[in-house]
């Protein structure tokens, strides 16, 4: 399970944890997030622009 990061604001999406507040349960793979997923904190980074953090 990997972590993906927003290069602008540092928001991290850890696949192990998901993002409960946003409605993505633990274990939700990043690639299965909606196509129009954007950084929940800054919104200027689209799904394609996230970077693998580890």
């Amino acid at each position: 399970m990997s972590t993906y990061g927003c290069p602008e604001c540092g928001y991290l999406y850890d696949e192990n944890e998901g993002d409960a507040w946003e409605g993505y349960p633990p274990g939700t793979p990043f690639l299965s997030l909606p196509a129009d997923f954007a950084c929940p904190d800054c919104a200027i980074t689209s799904k394609d622009d996230f970077r693998l953090a580890d």
Binding site: C9, Y11, A20, E22, G23, A38, C42, A43, I44
Partner: protein
């Protein structure tokens, strides 16, 4: 004065002193402006004084902007992290929140307990509304932060004029869709502020509702769940404004309606001047380009920037939405408004004058070069604008 020091990658040391550090307290106390009028009315017995804050904000402030002028002083990029981390600045934004409650409650109390002429009553409601509009700006700053404390403070201050949905649609909607025809809060060339408002106010609310209810749906909850943040802030507004009605009677109803609408109108005015006509281009695949510095209108006028927590350094704000107000930077060669926001609002409220001043400024921007295809044009005015500006000649600014 406090100095920040950073070391660059090449070993050089860079030092910065923020000359505006203590001047930011103007933004903290400015929301108490209704009390200037109330105090003078109380002392002199003349209710005309209640309107003084209007003269201050839309007369004195633009004049001060003109006299004192622009301030391009910015922290070097290497200093930004340290400046952002200095808690002094964020504490100022925390301090303003209760003051917005004090401002509304105080104004309502005066309107509700004094025997005011209808025009003084209306004037006080307008002043109160304008002041709560500043609160929406404070909510903008706080709502952009990651911490729960700051987001909760944002919801609190936005509840004052019943605009709790703002930070949701702003962060997740506007920052995503800025400077596209699809964005209800980006204004189009040829669109007057009055027509814009009829699209912006409902459009922003609908977008906020959609974003929040989609989130709730993903969490397996209904749109009407107690966790709905829009409903939470509305409940807060209900308690506050309902409380004022209960305390001061039915005349609070027109007072609060005027107050709320005027507060919303402040935001409408800010939204209108911030991206007028600016357009992000689509690539061949239909993907919209990243927001560039030239997709926002800016102002470096010092006094209005101090009152608005640097909102007018708008390009940097869109480049770095989570950057705190104190660190927002000036860039060269940006779309620039002819004055600070308050002066720009006055222009915007007179559409014929706005078009006269701003349309040629828009067309003359380097990335536009007189080409209407580079502009977010109001479809209803496209033919007229094409006829007027359709040639490739760039009007002189």
């Amino acid at each position: 004065m406090k100095a920040y020091v950073a070391t660059l990658q090449n070993g050089e040391s860079v030092r910065y002193v923020d000359k505006k550090r203590y001047l930011w307290t103007l933004a903290v106390f400015y929301p108490l402006q209704p009390f200037i009028g109330i105090g003078l009315h109380d002392v002199t017995g003349n209710e005309g004084w209640l309107l003084l804050p209007l003269l201050l904000s839309y007369g004195a402030l633009p004049l001060l902007d003109l006299i004192i002028g622009e301030d391009t002083d910015s922290p070097p990029e290497a200093i930004v992290t340290k400046l952002d981390a200095d808690r002094f600045y964020r504490r100022l934004t925390y301090a303003v929140v209760p003051l917005h409650f004090v401002s509304l409650i105080g104004s309502a109390w005066w309107a509700g307990t004094q025997d005011l002429s209808w025009w003084a009553f209306l004037g006080l409601a307008v002043v109160a509304g304008m002041t709560s509009g500043l609160g929406i700006n404070t909510g903008h700053e706080l709502g952009h932060r990651k911490s729960r404390l700051e987001r909760n403070l944002a919801k609190l201050v936005l509840a004052v004029p019943v605009y709790g949905h703002f930070w949701i649609e702003h962060n997740r909607g506007h920052h995503r869709d800025v400077a596209t025809p699809e964005d209800p809060v980006s204004s189009r060339m040829g669109e007057s502020i009055y027509r814009f408002a009829r699209r912006e106010i409902p459009g922003a609310f609908r977008r906020a509702w959609a974003i929040e209810t989609e989130r709730l749906k993903r969490r397996g909850r209904s749109a009407w769940d107690g966790e709905n943040q829009i409903l939470q802030t509305m409940s807060l507004s209900l308690v506050l404004q309902g409380g004022l009605l209960a305390a001061f009677g039915w005349r609070m109803l027109p007072f609060l309606i005027v107050h709320n609408v005027l507060a919303w109108w402040q935001l409408t005015s800010a939204n209108y001047v911030e991206h007028y006509g600016l357009l992000r281009q689509k690539d061949a695949a239909g993907r919209v380009e990243r927001c560039q510095p030239h997709h926002s209108w800016n102002s470096n006028h010092l006094v209005s920037n101090l009152v608005l927590f640097h909102l007018q350094r708008h390009s940097d704000h869109h480049a770095h939405p989570l950057r705190r107000y104190q660190s927002l930077r000036h860039y060269e060669n940006l779309p620039t408004l002819p004055s600070g926001y308050m002066g720009a609002y006055l222009l915007a409220w007179l559409p014929w004058l706005w078009y006269r001043v701003m349309d040629k400024r828009l067309l003359a921007l380097p990335h536009v070069g007189g080409d209407l295809a580079m502009i977010n044009v109001d479809p209803g005015r496209a033919a007229l604008l094409q006829a007027r500006y359709g040639s490739a000649a760039v009007p002189s600014p």
